[in-house]
């Protein structure tokens, strides 16, 4: 937590993304597919929630 660079100006791409509008909880997690932002979430997500996003937006196969 102490090393998080959330306030680093370089993160403006994520913080100002329309998909992140209204987010009020860290972490911001954004998912890019072929260079396009396909999903964004706010606050801590469980593994099940992350896997659900990967399964629905990506050709994700569990190894």
């Amino acid at each position: 937590m102490a090393d998080m660079e959330f306030n680093n100006p370089e993160t403006h791409v994520i913080r100002n993304a329309p998909e992140c509008r209204g987010f009020m909880g860290i972490p911001f997690t954004v998912y890019y597919k072929n260079g396009k932002l396909v999903k964004a979430t706010s606050s801590i997500q469980s593994m099940a929630q992350v896997k659900s996003i990967l399964d629905s937006h990506f050709d994700h196969k569990q190894q």
Binding site: G22, F23, S42
Partner: protein, 212 residues
């Protein structure tokens, strides 16, 4: 022949890490299976001032030190896994993670810890991370200039309310749905809550909605 541990510990928070330190230091083959971040809710705590031997530190740093201690004694730790199955009646005992990997141990210690308690009101799930937060340290900055309500009647709620005093919020309400349960030391911190904050103690209908 699968590897058999002397002790498998389910949970990598403060209790699990402590058990891992003691077990592995006693030369027991030890494995910690941890669902989330090693340290558990420690990593969400901004300041810890009541851990014996440590005057003041962040929860993240304390959790990190515990992890290093455990691994220094050759305790194995697997994180970001989900325990999907277990059989404690067998010998050795079996714990399965992620639906496909099994571990065997002569003994199992359960240290699963806790998760933030939801109050199960309409809108709570939908607005998580969009106005509903369970960690003042993590998300307090997003509420600059906004009104905040802290819901809870215990020490955790009071400490969250106290930590929010350092942030320029518009107002702060501290409420309990049922009754207040505070130990003496946190009660002293009530003085840190400004007079503009009000404290009321009753159960009322709560629903959450987004103001557009």
């Amino acid at each position: 022949m699968p590897e058999i541990f002397d002790i498998i510990i389910i949970g990598g928070g403060r209790a699990g890490l402590t058990a891992g330190i003691y077990a592995s230091r006693a030369r027991m083959k030890t494995l910690i299976l941890n669902e989330g971040t090693v340290g558990g809710q420690l990593v969400l705590t901004h300041e810890i001032a009541n851990y014996p031997g440590v005057e003041s530190t962040s929860g993240f740093q304390l959790g990190n030190i515990m992890k290093k201690q455990a691994t220094a004694f050759r305790c194995k730790i697997k994180s970001n896994i989900i325990v999907t199955k277990f059989d404690f009646s067998s010998n050795p005992k079996m714990v399965e993670i992620d639906g496909n990997e099994q571990f065997f141990g002569k003994s199992v210690i359960l240290a699963p810890g806790e998760k933030p308690r939801m109050i199960h009101v309409p809108g709570e799930t939908e607005l998580k991370g969009r106005g509903v937060s369970y960690c003042a340290t993590c998300d307090g900055d997003f509420f600059t200039g906004k009104e905040i309500v802290v819901v809870g009647g215990g020490n955790s709620a009071l400490e969250e309310a106290v930590s929010l005093q350092n942030m320029p919020t518009r107002s702060l309400s501290f409420t309990s749905l049922t009754t207040f349960r505070l130990s003496r030391m946190p009660l002293k911190r009530q003085r840190q809550i400004p007079k503009s904050a009000f404290i009321w103690n009753r159960r009322s209908g709560i629903s959450l909605g987004m103001i557009l």
